[in-house]
């Protein structure tokens, strides 16, 4: 029964709270169908039964107090019960255990930065320990965003000038999708992040800056794409992944279409015209400069809106991104 209701209709159940949430949701679905069946069933039955009945056969019933009382009081009791149930689950959703791992989140148009206790900052990549409560303390740099992990059934607006928080405990390690759920402008739908729940050993490795022993999903995907050559992904593939995780593709397409900024396709070593009319060759230096100081040399026809990524991209990552852009002839 549960599988029938959930298959395809709900995201994965990632935590114990999500499990509780599912029960409540199931109840609501059942209740809705029950009432819908009563209302629509009765309606169709009456219409069918009394269609074209003679007007003289009409029984002019004006009211029935007992019946009315019944369908006032029963729903009242029902919704009160529903409120209590909803509130009980809600308490579990918002009150974080005191031993939760705290990770800070900053939303900005249109990416997520995650700041870890060890000082690491990752963009659009949230690494958390599995089976341990995690509390996210979030704020925004510009407009409203909303941090939403469907599998954990948690969501909270990220508000400038204010800290909001959510918590969850992922049951299993793996990749979970993160969305921005509050409309925040042009690339709202590109403001995605991946959450990776890793086991205790890897979490400690991550905190101490050592190499993880697990291969994160996105790398696995690219392995499959690289046609079974095995081993680590190529530099170009890494670069492609990075443009996704850093949020670049929210504004820069890889297929030649214009978004907020120019497309990567064919840009490398081409001559681009800048807003001041001068022309530059888009070589490694120019692209790197544009990533770190985006407002310095803006391509003609585009607004100077890109945030600086200085300090957010490691040298190795920069190399991979450049290699990737170079590959898009």
């Amino acid at each position: 029964m549960k599988n029938f209701l959930h298959s395809g209709a709900l995201p994965a159940t990632g935590s114990d709270v999500a499990e509780q949430w599912n029960h409540l949701y199931d109840f609501l679905v059942g209740m809705s169908f029950f009432f819908l069946l009563i209302v629509v069933g009765a309606m169709l039955l009456f219409i069918w039964k009394y269609r074209n009945a003679k007007e003289s056969d009409v029984v002019p019933i004006k009211d029935h107090h007992a019946l009315e009382l019944f369908w006032t009081l029963v729903p009242t009791a029902l919704v009160m019960g529903l409120f209590v149930w909803g509130y009980v689950v809600y308490r579990d959703m918002i009150v974080a255990p005191t031993d939760a791992v705290e990770i800070r989140v900053i939303g900005k148009q249109w990416l997520w930065n995650f700041q870890y206790p060890n000082g690491e900052i990752l963009t659009n990549k949230l690494i958390v320990p599995a089976n341990k409560p995690v509390k996210l303390i979030m704020t925004s740099e510009d407009v409203l965003h909303s941090f939403f992990i469907p599998a954990m059934r948690v969501k909270k607006d990220v508000v400038p000038g204010m800290y909001s928080s959510i918590w969850f405990k992922a049951r299993e390690s793996g990749r979970y999708q993160v969305f921005c759920a509050e409309y925040c402008g042009a690339a709202h739908s590109g403001m995605l992040a991946s959450m990776y729940a890793v086991d205790q050993d890897n979490w400690e490795r991550f905190l101490s800056g050592r190499k993880l022993t697990v291969v994160l999903d996105e790398v696995k995907e690219s392995q499959a794409a690289s046609n079974g050559t095995g081993g680590r992904p190529t530099l170009v593939e890494q670069g492609q992944m990075l443009t996704k995780t850093k949020g670049c593709i929210a504004c820069h397409s890889e297929d030649g279409s214009s978004r907020i900024g120019p497309s990567y396709k064919g840009v490398f070593e081409s001559e681009v015209e800048l807003t001041d009319g001068s022309k530059v060759i888009a070589d490694e230096n120019y692209i790197r400069e544009s990533i770190e100081f985006p407002l310095k040399k803006v391509v003609k026809g585009f607004a100077p809106t890109m945030p600086s990524f200085k300090g957010l991209i490691k040298e190795e990552e920069m190399n991979a991104i450049l290699a990737y852009i170079k590959s898009l002839k």
Partner: protein, 254 residues
């Protein structure tokens, strides 16, 4: 509509009653001001509101004639106040209980990443040179290399970017503190440059101020007005960690 017929007597407020109400209102106003001179703590607010409500009731009941009006009209007016109260109470059910998470927001307070220049509000030739360098990376696209507002990207904007070499037309004024505020908050199409380090910003401010005629100097009073304590690096106003500073630190990871 028989219920509307008949010779209903319009109530006419007698001049004598009106005069009495008027005098009472004047006296109550004087009382409000007088009481405000004493300090009863939280009670002051309650007293002020009580007196105001007495005055308002007098106006509504007599001048507006609600005391003698139809029930319907009385209900209408009182209902509007009830819904006002609902609005207030339910909004406060959020805001009065939100305190813990709120970030106190200083408006011009700056704070101390390790600056290259101490007290950057004091002009020095080195700071000016530094400001020129910062200007050339961040501002020339719109304001032009000479600061004449003729930068290449500037042509896209309406109004055009400020010409720094002219005296008139500065929306926020061209005292250094005022330029500083513009840098911090942005103006029209110009984005905020609050993310630049403090001394970078002051450098730009001095450089921009030096481009035009009649360079003004920063006085201690000016600095105070933007929340900078002239004697030290951090303003006393920044008792709590300012949010943009916090974000800056978080984003750069130090």
């Amino acid at each position: 509509m028989s219920n509307h017929e008949g010779s209903h007597h319009h109530f006419i407020l007698p001049v004598k009653t009106g005069t009495f109400i008027w005098i009472t209102l004047m006296v109550l106003t004087v009382i409000t001001v007088w009481i405000a001179q004493f300090n009863f703590g939280a009670l002051n607010f309650a007293i002020a509101m009580l007196v105001a409500t007495i005055k308002a009731s007098l106006v509504a009941m007599f001048f507006m004639g609600l005391k003698y009006d139809k029930l319907e009209n009385r209900v209408i007016f009182i209902a509007s106040l009830i819904f006002f109260a609902i609005f207030m109470v339910l909004t406060f059910s959020d805001l009065a209980f939100r305190g813990a998470f709120r970030v106190q927001q200083p408006f011009f307070a700056e704070s101390g990443s390790q600056p290259k220049f101490a007290n950057p509000w004091k002009v020095t030739p080195e700071l000016l040179a530094h400001g020129k360098a910062v200007f050339e990376t961040n501002c020339v696209t719109c304001h032009g290399a000479q600061g004449k507002g003729d930068g290449p990207a500037g042509s896209a904007f309406n109004p055009r970017p400020r010409n720094f070499t002219e005296e008139p037309g500065w929306k926020n004024g061209r005292k250094p503190t005022q330029i500083f505020a513009t840098l911090k908050n942005g103006l029209g199409s110009m984005p905020s440059f609050a993310s630049l380090p403090l001394d970078d910003r002051w450098g730009v401010v001095h450089y921009v101020a030096s481009l035009g005629p009649n360079t003004t100097v920063v006085t201690d009073a000016d600095l105070k007005s933007v929340g900078v304590d002239p004697s030290g690096a951090v303003s006393a106003a920044a008792k709590t960690l300012p949010i943009d500073f916090a974000i800056e630190r978080m984003a750069t990871g130090n």
